[in-house]
């Protein structure tokens, strides 16, 4: 891959993060006076003045902006009001639990979604194919919190085999993972299926069969690697959906991770924590998209000339 294309992509990624930080800054200033927000609406005017001086809110706006960027790059977004400690620290404390949930979910999603899609494509038109596709439509339209509620009712309330909330043992992970993985696995299955069908219809597949290659070998050697390439493009989409899924699922199952922290922070308008989480999400999304672009170009030599135009992920 040409170095220029990579550098271009890196600059674009950095610009996106900068744009996000700028938006956060502008929105923060638009949403009200921080001094009033922190000290309360009927605080002493002198105290408000002192707070503004201390946080340089009396300085010109461009100076505040530079100051904000400087603090952001050092990870200073202020104190969390709810916990009375550094916001970044509060988020980092919970991050491992969310990452655990997300990585297990991603594993389950891939293990179910991709084989289901391949199977569907190979048995196209059969009742199994139709069944799998019907299940994917249903699970795609099922809101994750509704699924979570039904799972709790069935497995925790009626059969009493799994706990409803908490994070202490591996049993606590089962329901959240099923809840999060269902919709994503459906998308992966559909995407894999259409990628496989496209490859199976290619002339080189007929050639492979015509030269006497056994069907299974033709599928494994020629169809699967080629079908795997477009599947990479839904990587960015998958990470985004994992993040959004974690917010809802952690709230349903009282999983003490970043998603639940975001919800309680928004409820209590704990803005420093919200800022930290938004910036973290943005950085991980930008990084994922960058990685997807680079991997795609690396996997498929045909794309290298066209860098910068990534195929649309279409669930």
């Amino acid at each position: 891959m040409p170095v220029r294309a990579i550098v271009q992509k890196l600059i674009r990624a950095a610009l996106t993060v900068l744009l996000l930080l700028t938006t956060v800054f502008v929105v923060l200033r638009l949403s009200g006076d921080p001094a009033v927000y922190v000290l309360g609406i009927d605080a002493d005017p002198d105290a408000l003045e002192a707070y503004r001086k201390q946080h340089r809110l009396d300085r010109p706006i461009h100076e505040q902006y530079l100051r904000f960027l400087e603090d952001a790059t050092e990870g200073h977004f202020g104190q969390s009001f709810m916990e009375g400690r550094d916001a970044l620290e509060a988020v980092m404390d919970r991050l491992p639990r969310t990452l655990l949930l997300m990585s297990v979910t991603l594993g389950v999603t891939l293990l179910i979604g991709i084989p289901a899609g391949i199977f569907s494509a190979l048995r196209r038109g059969s009742w199994m194919d139709k069944g799998i596709m019907a299940v994917t439509v249903a699970s795609f339209c099922l809101p994750s919190f509704v699924l979570g509620i039904f799972l709790i009712l069935l497995l925790s309330v009626t059969w009493r085999i799994l706990p409803t909330a908490g994070y202490q043992t591996w049993q606590h992970m089962v329901l959240p993972v099923i809840t999060m993985a269902t919709a994503d696995a459906a998308i992966f299955a559909r995407f894999t299926r259409s990628a496989m069908l496209e490859v199976l219809g290619q002339p080189y597949m007929r050639t492979a069969r015509a030269k006497g290659l056994p069907w299974a070998r033709a599928v494994i050697r020629h169809a699967l690697p080629n079908a795997a390439i477009p599947t990479v493009t839904i990587g960015g989409f998958a990470v985004g959906s994992l993040i959004a899924g974690a917010v809802v699922t952690e709230s349903v199952f009282a999983w003490p991770g970043v998603g639940r922290l975001l919800v309680t922070s928004v409820q209590n308008r704990d803005l420093p924590v919200v800022q930290v989480i938004i910036v973290l999400v943005a950085i991980s999304m930008v990084t994922t998209n960058l990685l997807v672009d680079l991997t795609y170009g690396w996997l498929d030599p045909r794309i290298r000339g066209l860098m910068g135009r990534r195929a649309e992920a279409k669930p």
Binding site: L20, C141, G240, V248, S251, V274, A282
Partner: protein, 304 residues
């Protein structure tokens, strides 16, 4: 609506149209009929909630707390779907929730469609820095999970119904914008748009009267995909307690409060959950069906 679909029929045939013939002319499958019927019921409920509800949805009756539905032991016809933790009639609340959720989703979808299409036209018409700006906004929006964006906006500006509907309106605009921009650019290069320009037709008229009808089917297909997604987003945010605020009620809101009573009073959360699922499922299936009917450019073979 029926007339548009039956254009291929000659008037003589159309006059003798039997129900079966009509069904075939529209290409209605049994599942499409089932979906349409359910959505008609939902729409009717949303419009008539005020008259259908036996009780005021806010009316608290502490003597009748957590009453089960009529088919369970202890249930009465007075509250045939039971009551919640404050003794409010679940059936009445359900009707009003359907109305609120549908209202937010419809308004949000319309705002998103108009906003996105307009920006797409603007980008295609002016090119230059306006197009750069729109494309940058599209990329920016696509780069951040919408739920995080919505939560951030709610955190920064505090919640209100108007703000919430505005947020729902932002959801999905970038897809309309992308489609409109791309298709308008290709339409402008085609003969009909060019000849209209040469004839001196004003640009606004070209866009609204000539190009819009040509790309409408793709936009409508996108609309049917976005609408259930908006419902899902609205119910999810309300479920988290960050969407519709009490005393107003919405489907997600009901599920959110009912979650605490799953052990003792499952009906509070399960009934609205079922309504959400059936509605989004009906919309998804209908969207698929409509896409097959309306989008002739779509390669139908790989799609189920």
């Amino acid at each position: 609506m029926t007339a548009d679909f039956s254009q291929p029929l000659t008037p003589a045939v159309a006059r003798r149209r039997s129900p079966r013939r009509l069904r075939l002319a529209l290409g209605l499958t049994p599942s499409a009929i089932a979906c349409l019927s359910w959505l008609t019921v939902v729409l009717g409920v949303a419009l008539l909630a005020h008259w259908l509800a036996p009780y005021d949805y806010e009316a608290i009756d502490l003597r009748a707390r957590l009453q089960p539905p009529v088919w369970m032991e202890g249930g009465t016809w007075q509250h045939w779907l039971g009551t919640d933790d404050l003794g409010r009639d679940v059936y009445s609340r359900l009707l009003h929730s359907v109305r609120m959720s549908l209202l937010v989703a419809v308004l949000g979808t319309i705002i998103g469609a108009v906003l996105g299409t307009t920006l797409g036209f603007l980008a295609a018409h002016f090119r230059g820095w306006i197009e750069d700006l729109v494309v940058m906004a599209i990329d920016f929006q696509a780069a951040l999970p919408f739920m995080i964006l919505a939560l951030a906006v709610i955190a920064f500006f505090d919640n209100s119904l108007v703000l919430f509907i505005a947020i729902m309106g932002i959801y999905g605009w970038e897809r309309y914008a992308r489609i409109t921009r791309g298709m308008t650019l290709s339409a402008l290069g085609q003969g009909y748009a060019l000849s209209l320009q040469v004839l001196g037709v004003p640009p606004l008229r070209i866009y609204l009267r000539h190009i819009l009808p040509n790309i409408a089917s793709v936009l409508i297909v996108n609309l049917t995909l976005t609408f259930p997604a908006v419902i899902l987003m609205e119910t999810s945010l309300s479920f988290l307690g960050l969407g519709i605020q009490p005393p107003q009620t919405s489907l997600g809101n009901m599920v959110g409060f009912g979650r605490d009573y799953l052990m003792t009073a499952w009906w509070i959360a399960v009934l609205p959950s079922a309504v959400i699922f059936l509605t989004t499922l009906a919309l998804c299936l209908l969207g698929d069906w409509l896409r097959d009917r309306l989008d002739p450019m779509l390669d139908r073979s790989p799609s189920p």
